[in-house]
């Protein structure tokens, strides 16, 4: 009963990953009677690693992932700590926190695009009204600002999700541990670092893992918000793979980029699990 379902999942997920590796080792041409494969060894990888565009996309994606995941974890933890107490309206707040998570990313990208608009965007208007800036800023106009703009849109959408996971983790910590720490003379900071943080590790690892997996697949936001621009400065590796495969019909090199993405994700996931010293298997038992 279980095997058909799991077999199906493996067929649509695991098998294509394996097939991706095979495709990335081939020279592939699309013709009228289907795709023509010819074995090409590692030549696709050579093309990818020699491409300055790949270097740029890789650096952008890594910087983007590291910055957004860290910011979201810190912000999420701060908010979770602040609201982890019996205050009125918390249930309502948690319900509202669910909404950005359910939002179609493309819609949030369009929403932020309108807010960032350099001519009639409300962000420039508000900042000018508050005399924070003198002249309008073209948010999506320079590589650095465009990167930050995408990061803000991501942090806005995902921090509530991280907060919820961490809040659930906080609520699992028994309160007598805090009392014991207090009796031992530990202050607020001390009890945070020796009680809260160690016990929160599984939740932090889970949130980090989810986010890293998502961040390295970054596609929807820059696709709509910047189109990878200005120039190619906000082109993520997923976007690069998409463009290579479906715009330039470079199936081999494009698939090689996808395989490299999988490898990076595996490495980053392992690092984050190790860093928080939480074992995914342990969660299950």
């Amino acid at each position: 009963m279980v095997s058909p379902a799991l077999l199906f999942v493996a067929l649509v997920t695991l098998f294509p990953i394996g097939y991706s590796i095979w495709m990335s080792l081939n020279h592939i041409q699309s013709s009228t009677n289907g795709f023509q494969f010819s074995f090409a060894g590692l030549s696709n990888y050579k093309i990818v690693f020699n491409s300055p565009l790949f270097h740029q996309a890789l650096i952008f994606t890594i910087v983007y992932a590291v910055v957004t995941v860290l910011v979201e974890l810190v912000l999420g933890l701060l908010v979770a700590l602040a609201i982890n107490q019996p205050i009125k309206g918390r249930g309502f707040a948690i319900a509202i926190m669910l909404i950005p998570w359910t939002l179609i990313t493309v819609i949030s990208a369009q929403m932020w695009g309108y807010i960032y608009n350099g001519v009639y965007g409300v962000l420039d208007y508000l900042m000018q009204s508050l005399h924070l800036i003198n002249s309008p800023i073209v948010w999506l106009g320079t590589p650095n600002l465009a990167t930050i703009s995408i990061m803000i849109a991501d942090v806005w959408k995902t921090t509530p999700f991280v907060t919820m996971i961490l809040l659930a983790g906080l609520q699992l910590i028994p309160s007598d541990l805090y009392e014991a720490a207090k009796i031992d003379g530990a202050g607020a900071f001390r009890s945070f670092f020796s009680v809260t943080l160690p016990l929160l590790r599984p939740s932090l690892a889970l949130a980090a893992l989810f986010r890293i997996l998502q961040a390295f697949g970054l596609f929807d936001l820059p696709f709509v918000l910047t189109g990878g621009g200005p120039g190619t400065s906000t082109m993520s590796i997923a976007m690069l793979a998409y463009k290579a495969i479906f715009n330039d019909f470079e199936y081999g090199p494009g698939t090689a980029v996808a395989v490299i993405t999988v490898l990076i994700i595996l490495i980053m996931s392992l690092i984050s699990i190790k860093a928080f010293r939480a074992q995914v298997g342990e969660v299950e038992e």
């Binding site: 926190m97 179609i104 493309v106 919820m164 997996l213 697949g217 298997g281």
Partner: protein, 278 residues
């Protein structure tokens, strides 16, 4: 903690809570009021903080001349069918996992769970080649099949926790009464684990409703596009018709918001179930 400290802590809690809610809601507010403005008002400088002459013209245009209804229909068909298939397969599989002694089931589950959260780009070229070969590009099954596969592991993960909480004696009682496995699952176990079913269903539905990458790649024909693709590719080379985009967006967001708010307790439990020891 002293009384004063507790009070300070409470105040900080309220301030953080209110700030966060404002930050979450502000862009939504902006989206909804923009969808109620006329085109002139949308590009007005300075922008008006609420619609001066509220109008539904953006909505009538979106569904009239821009034909957004097709995208809604496609999204509904794909999301609903995927959700139903996932719930049926997941309830059978998670019952088996919760009950039967399967060697290494934890390892298999965790592996599939991790792979199902991989970004779509990691499987896109083989799936595209296969879909093309089968002639399935621009069809509903082009989306339903990957959606089911990618959402099944998480649905099983969630439901398994609920199933494990149901005493085995019930199964045995049903078996003594002559019920087969399928009857046991559908008559005894499922009615007792409705929250698990709904949580799995909501997660799947939201994931299908919001999915962009597969939909963009597999269904390029306008008549098979879903909402995210419609909204992303909307607009011309030089101007972006924000009024129309936000009218469509508001309609796309509403059903999910209502669904999630109604079932919020289960959704929160499901979201955090990975962090809680099952």
């Amino acid at each position: 903690m002293s009384k004063a400290q507790l009070l300070t802590r409470k105040w900080i809690g309220y301030i953080v809570l209110i700030l966060m809610l404002l930050i979450i809601i502000a862009p939504f507010y902006w989206m909804v009021i923009t969808s109620l403005k006329s085109n002139n008002e949308i590009s007005a400088i300075p922008p008006s903080m609420f619609p001066i002459h509220p109008t539904f013209s953006q909505y009538t245009q979106t569904f009239g001349q821009f034909g957004f209804g097709i995208y809604f229909r496609n999204s509904l068909i794909v999301s609903i069918i995927s959700t139903i298939v996932v719930v049926i397969l997941a309830s059978l599989a998670s019952y088996a996992i919760a009950r039967l002694p399967i060697r290494g089931k934890t390892f298999i589950m965790v592996t599939l769970l991790v792979i199902s959260t991989f970004p779509q780009v990691s499987v896109i070229s083989p799936l595209f080649v296969i879909m093309e070969h089968l002639g399935w590009l621009n069809s509903y099954q082009a989306l339903i099949i990957p959606y089911v596969a990618f959402n099944l592991p998480f649905a099983i993960w969630i439901m398994r926790t609920y199933f494990a909480g149901i005493p085995r004696e019930l199964d045995e009682a049903a078996r003594v009464d002559g019920a087969g496995v399928l009857t046991t699952v559908f008559r005894i176990i499922l009615p007792l684990s409705t929250p698990g079913l709904f949580t799995g269903a909501i997660f799947t539905f939201v994931a299908c409703w919001t999915e962009f990458f597969f939909a963009l790649v597999f269904n390029t024909d306008n008549s098979f596009r879903t909402i995210p693709v419609g909204i992303a590719l909307f607009g011309g080379q030089f101007t972006i018709p924000y009024g129309t985009i936000f009218a469509a967006s508001t309609v796309a967001v509403l059903p999910i918001v209502i669904l999630v708010l109604i079932f919020q307790k289960w959704v929160v439990a499901g979201l955090t179930s990975g962090a809680v020891k099952g």
